[in-house]
């Protein structure tokens, strides 16, 4: 699974966060686990 430019990835063990500035393949690992993409900040409805 590709890592996307501009996305933040977090380690679920130590909360270290990386920001991807160059997209590419491969896995981001921390504490031997694949780092999870941080979800977009929830915004309220605009309607």
């Amino acid at each position: 699974m590709a890592n996307l430019l501009g996305k933040r990835y977090q380690c679920s063990v130590c909360a270290a966060t990386v920001l991807v500035t160059k997209a590419g393949d491969g896995k981001l690992l921390c504490h031997e686990q694949v780092m999870e993409v941080a979800q977009a900040k929830p915004l309220p409805s605009s309607d």
Binding site: A40, L43, S45, S46
Partner: protein
Amino acid sequence: MLDARLLSGGPDGLDAALADTLGSPALLVVDGLRDVDPPGLELLRRVPLVTAGRAPLDSAHADAVDLVLADDAALGRAQVGCARAPRAATAAALLLRCGGGDWWDGLVRESTTYSMLQGGSEFLGWRSARGEPAAARDPGPRVRVDRHGRVTEVTLTRPERHNALDVRLRDELHAALGEAFAGEGPVVLLGDGPSFCSGGDLDEFGTFPDPAAAHLVRLSRSLAARLAAHGERVVVGLHGACLGAGVELPAFAAHVVAADDARLGLPELGLGLVPGAGGTVSLPRRIGRHRTLELLVHDGTISAAAALGWGLVDEVVPRAQLRSRCRQIAESGS
């Protein structure tokens, strides 16, 4: 009704004639428009009412008004539509009149007008009649993404609500489109269930924090902006109810295929609003500002065949062939 002769004497005659109107009635039909000369036509551009003339009109005269009325039935629909929400109808006409140009600028203008109306009496009246708004509670993902070779297929997955656009669908679709466009290849957009998208989820309407904040939220998580920026890569398949955002967003796409059961419409006037999903940018590019306003004031929907005639959609296929035809266009480019 305005006698066109009042336009021949400069702005004072027009001001005197319009002095007693403030928004209602919102529709100003110019009687004898085709005899008005350019200085008179120029005055009409600055009238804060929905202006109309009767067909046939050459392009210079059509350009001077917001609506071109084909017949008495069209006049009737325009009167009913403008009376339903005179301030929203006028705001829509003024917005479309200053249209054209860069799509982002158009989205900023649209959002500004929308937020203005969210603070107005017509929307407030609709909301009071409808009752308390609430966030949607049905669980489950709103969007599914599949890849077939180079093609990314994004499908709306809220069929029991006709893919009504609630906050969750907005956010999931925004993220899915962002990822699709970050990659390569064509993007196909479809909807599960009986309809492509019935527009904004009305149960949620009124949950916006306040009009000023809503303006910024709208521009920060804009589905219209995503599609406007990458529309040349997009094929949309429409079926069933395609209302509000369900017609505004597809209109940004390079290819729009409609199933024969598709019904397209803009219901926002009934809420005291204008289109808020980019429709004042996307529809005029395909069908012009006159037909866009006509669709907005029209109380109802148009068929896939009528939409094809206007250029709002690019082709019509039997319902059963919609998905395969969209894939075919995405894979082969035509």
